[in-house]
């Protein structure tokens, strides 16, 4: 699929995305995540997402289809979970923290944080929670050894969501100046302890 990025993407950004359109698509995904996590489903429009991403509405539809399809794409925690869980158990805690921090710094967005915006809502965003249970918690539970695997998976998810939350919350804080490795030194042992059981 070749992207025709109409606005909002400077030529040098396009040049660093030789496969074509990755930058425009990323901008649309970021805008869609923002929209679907911050507003009730019924209030979200393709036009609004396009404006936020700096592209045309027709480009959004071309890449992701209509609103329902775009929502399904945004509510998919699978690829992020695959990336975060892709390490041997002995180093999984550290891998998770490094991956989460690096993804954020590379502007790929936080892997799991958007699920918290669905808390306390009765609208369609609760689909986010169901997806999270299936794609993150259940999958992690299946990978863990030992006892109380579901409980440990829930708590590991909590540590990961909390890391993303506090980095967003203290955007100019001490965490923003720390290297991913240093953050892993401080934060990953807790997760590794729950991984090992």
């Amino acid at each position: 699929m070749t992207a025709r990025v109409t606005t909002g993407t400077p030529p040098e950004a396009a040049a660093t995305a030789p496969e074509g359109g990755a930058t425009g698509k990323d901008a649309i995904l970021l805008a869609a995540r923002r929209a679907f996590t911050q507003r009730p489903y019924a209030e979200v429009t393709i036009r609004g997402i396009a404006a936020d991403a700096g592209v045309s509405a027709s480009l959004v539809v071309k890449h992701f289809g209509r609103k329902e399809q775009l929502f399904n794409t945004v509510a998919d925690f699978g690829p992020a979970a695959e990336e975060l869980f892709d390490a041997p158990l002995g180093g999984l805690g550290r891998h998770m923290v490094l991956t989460l921090v690096r993804r954020r710094r590379e502007q790929k967005g936080d892997p799991f944080l958007r699920v918290v915006f669905s808390l306390g809502n009765q609208d369609e965003r609760s689909l986010l929670r169901t997806r999270f249970h299936e794609q993150v918690t259940a999958r992690l539970t299946a990978r863990l050894p030992g006892r109380e695997r579901a409980l440990r998976a829930e708590l590991i998810a909590g540590h990961l969501i909390g890391l993303g939350a506090t980095l967003s919350l203290h955007r100019e804080g001490a965490g923003s100046h720390a290297t991913p490795e240093h953050l892993a030194d401080l934060y990953a042992p807790a997760i590794q302890r729950l991984v090992a059981g």
Copy 2:
């Protein structure tokens, strides 16, 4: 202040709140937290909060004043931080987890979780973030011994926000069946390690 709870509070609930009105006030606070964290400030109304709490709008105003004052009350993390941080450093991690879980189970709400709803928003809710920095992160930083206190305080805040998030996210999950003590056994060592530095 004696509350005249007009609706929504069964007599037996009132009977368990001998100081008068705690139950009605708690219901209003819960409804106000929900409203201010889920909607832009401009869209929140006293009438809507009252309806959600099952009380009259005049009762809301009687207890908490008009919208601005109610917002200031809801955006106050001070009392919760005081409760969570009220332990010697050697047992602070465990105290924090026990207090957070017990507060939630006693329907007093999560102490910090609502701050995440302010993330990514440019509206008045960002006041929530500023309050959090002052009342939670800075205060915790001041209590910690050793080096990198601000960074450790941010990460401790992350652990606590994450615990509330995952308990809300897995409302019927394994965490909901675990005792506060057991959750502390699994989750508090991470926090204590950052407290000790």
